[in-house]
Each structure stands twice: as structure tokens, then as C-alpha cells.
Amino acid sequence: MDIIRRVIRYRQLFIVLVWREFAVRYRYTIIGVMWAGLQPLSMMLLFTFIFTYIMKLHVSSYPSFIFYFAGLIPWTFFAHSLNASIPSLTNHYQLITKIYFPRELLPLAGITAALLDFFICAVILFVFILIYRIPLTWNALWLFPLIVLLVVFTTSVSLFLAGLNVYYRDVRLASNFLIQLWFFMSPVMYSVDSLSTKMKLLLFLNPLTFIIENTRRVLLEGRGIVLWQMAFVCVVITIFYVVLSRFFIKIERAFADVI
């Protein structure tokens, strides 16, 4: 709550920082903002090629490239947010040691820019859904709470790791490896449906598993969410957020002395 209040107080700076993040990223590029969709789209083609044409896997009743794309969108948001936010504080040490503003604005600006990319990809996904006539049901509305969970979870992890990186630069060096590992632990290129209960429980320790699995479930398969699972994940992610954002605010005061 503290963080939301501080961002609202400094919203003008926040808007400008997000705009800067976006403007700087696509400046001097030829295809500009199209890069946002290009990366998940090319991963999607790769997965479809390998799993559908080489390994002959059958993952879904609808076209498999949509299966992969729907998993890649939340994943890409998560990975891009971590990549943008972890070095965001240390990269701006000149700002942090010279001017006061709530430090979380820097990682949050990176996450918000990744969220804009996320919405661009979401539009592409809906175009696919329309073209391939995948029936949408009211269950698709579950997408909105799922997106909120994704953003809150991503924000907690990003703030924690970005703050820790000010003290230990190991975080940045470990992050590539960590993100890769996390990718394989998330059901982006597979589905947990066919796995044993034990394996499912193990994979559901990762909140992204719940989010990615259910994104496909509500949007592409027209099924609802298991309510007790939803409640449980909500509680877990809220605790995550409260503890990690509190940790960030606590160590934030010393950033200028440490960085």
C-alpha cells in the first residue's frame, strides 16, 4: 500500500520514466515497437516447429502455435520485467546519489514498459483467436484477475531482486541463469495436465504455473478456474507482496550510501 501511495504522489515522474524507458528502447530502431511482438512470435514459431513437426507432440485441441503463444506472453512479461528491473537501480546510481524520489519508481517503470509490450502481444493473441474461431466464453473474464496476480507477483520478485542487487551484484549475474531455470519450471512449452499429482504439486509451488495454466484454460479451453486454488494463490501472492515490498522500503533508505 505504501508503494502505491508513493507512486501516486510521484506519478508525474513515474509517467515520464515509463515514457523514457519506452522511447529509449525503440529509438534508432527500424521496426520500433514491432520488436515487442517479434520476440514471443519467433519463440512461438520455434516451439511449434520443434514440438509439432519434429517431435510430433499433440498439446491441444486448437492449433498448437496458439497454445505456445498464450504461454509465452505472460512468461515474456515476467522475464522482461526481471531483466529490466534488476539492474535498474544500479544503472541509475547517478540519479540515486544525487536526487531523492521513491526508488521503486525505477524498477516499476521497467515493469510498466514490459506490461505495455504484454498488451501489444495480447492483441496479437486475440487476432489469432478470432482467425482460428476459438470460442470465447464468459470464463475468459478470469483473465483479468490472472493478469493482476501476474503483475503483483512479478512486481514483488522484481523489487526484491532489484533491491538486493544494490548490495550484492551477484543477483544480476545469477539472474540470467535463474530466469532460464524458471522458464523450464513454468508450463510454457508443456502443460501440467498429463502429469502425476506429485509432479503437479511440485510445479504449482511456482505461482507462474498457476497463472500460465489457467490463462490457457479460461481463454482457449473455455473452462473455469478451481476456486480454492485461486484463493490459495491469491493469499500466497499477497503475502509475497507484503513481505517483499516491506523489505524493499526498509533497505531503500540506505541505497544512496551503499550503491
Binding site: T97, K98, I99, L164, Y168, K250, D257, V258
Partner: protein, 237 residues
């Protein structure tokens, strides 16, 4: 804390560590996550950067801080602008602060001068529509009319400085902190800045200037503090 002062520092002490690693301190933070702790004892690799600094400024005061390198001048500015926090003592600030510890901090090399005015302006607390309204004044003050839509990575350091200073003095902040920023510019721009500082004083803004140049401070400041041995002493005029 009475509100007659724009700015008040009471018995401010600041401890710094000379070790390059902060392992102990992050652990302290984690342990102290749910309890409050103050430390007034020095451990082996710590020193006092500020010892019992007392300052009180009224609205419209222009104060100079003068002292050798490393005496603690910039630390005082950092505490006033809450970039860092005092180990002991209290700080009361009434009004918005525009810290200029370094001119042009936050400029992005790939953005143009005009775009950077927006970034820098919001960083020092201006509203976007406010910046838009003041834009012609800022550009005119910086004398960079012909270069304002050029990426600032192509600017010279003098142009950089002008742009940063122009944003700061055209902001609506009530308290302005200038760290050694006049000594780098040419004489003409320096005079322009000195005039601008007098103008700001008329406007009842509070200004703290840090400089090694005593003559410059004498020309603009009402009173000058000598920062020596980590503490502030009022200099006889």
C-alpha cells in the same frame, strides 16, 4: 519544529563506513525488518562525516557552505534533500526541494534536450503541464534554442550544464540546493546565474550554495558557513 523556518537541522550526525562491502548492513536490515534500531557507537571501519550540525534557514535566505574537499558539504545537501538519512538528529523541511547536487543528473544521452527537460523537470518535482508552460523560458535561459532538439549526447559539457541549470532555476521548488555548479560555466553564464539567484531570493526562495570559491559566495549569499572537521561554523562576514 516551528514553521517559521524553511529548513532546520538539529544536531545532525552522519556515520559512514569506509569498507567497500556492506554485508553487515544488509543483514542488519533483514534482522531489523520489524524493529527499530539506532546506532551511535562507531565500529572499526566507520567514521563521522557530520558531527552535530545545526542549521536554521528562514524563507528567502541565501546561505553558502564553504570548506575543503571532503569536509561534508555535499553530505549536508544530501541529508536536506533526503537522498540519505542522518544517523542521529532531526531534519525539518517546509517546502519542496530542488536538489542540484549535480546539474543534469538524470539526463539521458539518447533523448533530445527538450525531452530531457521533461525528465529532469519531473525528477525535481515539477508537473508535466507546468514544464510545458515554462518550456520557452527554460530554453531561452539555457541559450540553446538551436540545439534543443538534438540528443544531449552531442552536447558539450557547458551546454549540458546550462540546460540543467535552466530547468532548476525555472522550477517552482521553494528550496534550491546548488553544489559547486557555478564554477564550471563561463563568466557570462555565471553572471546570469548570479542575477537569477538574486531574483529567486526576491521571490522568497531559500537557497543553499556550496562552493570552493569564497568570492562567489560573498557576492550572492547572506551568510556563509565554514564546514570544517565535519561540523558547521558561521563565518564572520
Amino acid at each position: 519544529m516551528s514553521s517559521e523556518y524553511a529548513l532546520e537541522l538539529c544536531g545532525v550526525w552522519k556515520k559512514y563506513s569506509i569498507s567497500e562491502f556492506f554485508h553487515r548492513s544488509v543483514r542488519e536490515e533483514i534482522v531489523g525488518l520489524f524493529k527499530h534500531k539506532t546506532g551511535d557507537a562507531l565500529s572499526k571501519d566507520e567514521f563521522w562525516a557530520l558531527k552535530d550540525v545545526n542549521l536554521a534557514l528562514k524563507r528567502g535566505d541565501v546561505v553558502g557552505l564553504y570548506g575543503a574537499n571532503g569536509a561534508g558539504k555535499t553530505t549536508i545537501l544530501k541529508i536536506i534533500s533526503s537522498i540519505t538519512y542522518p544517523t542521529l538528529g532531526s531534519v525539518a523541511v517546509n517546502g519542496t526541494v530542488a536538489p542540484l547536487i549535480e546539474v543534469g543528473a538524470g539526463f539521458h544521452p539518447d533523448l533530445t534536450g527538450r525531452e530531457n527537460i521533461y525528465v529532469n523537470g519531473t525528477i525535481i518535482g515539477m508537473e508535466i503541464k507546468d514544464i510545458r508552460a515554462r518550456m520557452p523560458g527554460i530554453i531561452a535561459f539555457s541559450e540553446l534554442e538551436g540545439f534543443i532538439d538534438m540528443p544531449v549526447k552531442k552536447y558539450s559539457s557547458g551546454m549540458y550544464l546550462r540546460l540543467g541549470f535552466a530547468v532548476a532555476v525555472n522550477s517552482s521548488a521553494e528550496i534550491l540546493l546548488f553544489d559547486e555548479i557555478l564554477s564550471v560555466s563561463d563568466v557570462d553564464f555565471q553572471n546570469k546565474c548570479i542575477n537569477k539567484i538574486r531574483e529567486l531570493k526576491q521571490d522568497n526562495r531559500t537557497i543553499i550554495m556550496v562552493s570552493h570559491n569564497l568570492n562567489l559566495l560573498r557576492e550572492t549569499a547572506d551568510s556563509i558557513y565554514l564546514i570544517k572537521d565535519s561540523t558547521a561554523v558561521l563565518m564572520p562576514w
